[in-house]
Every structure is written in C-alpha cells, then in structure tokens.
Subunit: 185 residues, 2 copies
Amino acid sequence: MSEEDSFQEKTLSSTYIYQGKIINLRQDKVKLPDGRETIREIVEHPGAVVILALTDDNKIVMIRQFRKPVDEVLWELPAGKVEPGEDLKNCALRELEEETGYYPRKIKKLITFLSTPGFCNERLTLFLAEDLEKRNKNEDAGEFIEVKLIKPNEALKLVKENIIKDAKTIIGILYLVSSKNSIEY
Amino acid sequence: MSEEDSFQEKTLSSTYIYQGKIINLRQDKVKLPDGRETIREIVEHPGAVVILALTDDNKIVMIRQFRKPVDEVLWELPAGKVEPGEDLKNCALRELEEETGYYPRKIKKLITFLSTPGFCNERLTLFLAEDLEKRNKNEDAGEFIEVKLIKPNEALKLVKENIIKDAKTIIGILYLVSSKNSIEY
C-alpha cells in the first residue's frame, strides 16, 4: 500500500450548502483511513493569479486595498481570480494592467500554491513580470486601489515588521529575496 | 480624509449562511467608497498557528498529510486551529507535540499573516520553536500524519520545484532562508 493510499479519505457523499459569486461551500462526508467517518467543510474557489512585477530600476509594484473580511487596508501584490476558461498567463496580464496600469513585455510562471488547503481548494499561481510598459489603470467595479513602488529590501523589512500581512504577497517578496533579488529567465 | 477612510466599505447588513464545525459563512452587504452597494462573501475562521521547528542539527520538522479540499497528500509545517480562548503560544506547543511528538524548550512568535483576505478572515501566527525534546505523538482523531526532517536548503529546493505547495509552509521556509538560515532570539 502506498503512502497516498494509506492517507486517502474516500468521499461517501457531497452536499452543497452555498453556491455564490466567488465561492461555493460544500460538506463532504468522508471515510477516514481507519474506517471511521467524518464531515469535511470545503470552500471552493476558482483559483487566482498573483503578480510579482519588477520595474526597470528593480522596484516591486505593490497595491494597497481595503479587504472587508479583515476590515483593513492591506499591502498586496496585484492579484485576481481566474475567469472561467481563462488562461492563467492572460489572467495575470489582465489583472496587472487593470489594477496597476502596467503591462509586462516579459512574464513567467514561478510557482503555484494553495492558500489554505485545510478547508479550501484555492490555488494561486505566482508570475514574475518584467520589462513593464505604463498603460492606463482600469479597475473593476468595486475595486479601489492605490499603487506603490517598493524596493525588495524595504518590502522584506515590511514583512519582518509584520506590516505586510497578506500571505500571497509575503510569498512573492520572500521568493524574490531568497533568489538573491533577481530571478533568472 | 485619510487613506483608510477613502477605501473603507461600510457594512449595511450581515447575514449568516452557515455556521459549522470549523468555518462560518456570511454575506455582508456593503457600501463602497463611491456610494454603490455590493455583497461580500466572507468565510470566518477561528485562526491558526504554524510552527517552524528546528532540530539541534538544523533540520525543519515537517509533516505529510492528506487534505480533502485538494485531494492531495501535502508537505506542511505542523499547524492547527486555535481553540476558543486558547493562548496562541500554548496552541503552538500543543499542536507541535500532537502532530510531531516534539516539545520545544524555546519558542518565539515571528509574524502573523492572512491566508486569503479577499474572502476569509483566517489569521495564522508563525512560531519559531527550538531546543526540541522528543515526547510522544498524539494525533487528534481523524489526523493521519507522517513526520519528516528536512534541511533548509532541501526545503527551499522543494519550494522552487513546486513540490511544497502549502502557503503557510512556503512562508515558514522562505522566512528562515531569507534570514540566512538562522533567526536570532
């Protein structure tokens, strides 16, 4: 028996509690590896992209926006959810331009990660965007965003001082810094 | 008018859709800065801790466990949700011992972060645990966990190769590596 088999939870039934604009909520009744049964609460999310965009003078394009779930204005990297059928790279190009007005001539996928896999299936794909052209900001309805350019070492300081608190943004900044401030194509 | 005021969304009404074992789901009707109204879908979570535990020979204590929302066995740092009224440091000590059998003689809070603040209020607090004593593993009912010790540079490689995909785990590893593999007390 492989490790995967011995850890697996078999779904016995699946019930939707809510199907919403951005997220769905379902309850799965599962059979545990020891034969007992339990309920897993699962939030479904369509997935998202996050963009680490670097200007020619090596500054990170960051945004500040209010987030209702935590009632705070947060420092974040530009990001947004994937539309049905949308290619992830096109989504990253669209979200970066909408939120910041920057359009990159170079873009590259770095990693995909799971924001909180204990109860949610959200997958975020982190892109590196460089060689930026300034176009027009074009926010979605309901988005109110301020753009700020920050040096990697200042961003790292804001992470360590716990002023930057958003997980996807911390990952982008620490990924860059742990690559010695430059990521090779 | 301060930046915070100009970005703020005022809650007009709040309705619970679901109140569950671990998470709740509510809909908030909010007034946007431009006066229009919209609905925000908000997942409430009690908060959690995550522990970067280092052995005396500088290995990271990691676990592997199955996560139903993504149907995968994941590499993770030990972690767990906070019980009502529980002190975060005590929660970290309890979860580390339950999941791995290690008990640290030194423990320190590093940062608190938000897993996915676009739709969820989950706050995770990252602790550094050192000077570990081996006790007995004592998994919660329904937890099936394998413990692995990994060198920081191997863990970094697993992040860059996208084998480690859990956000809180990536943050812990990159935080350590960006602190030049040792964090001062």
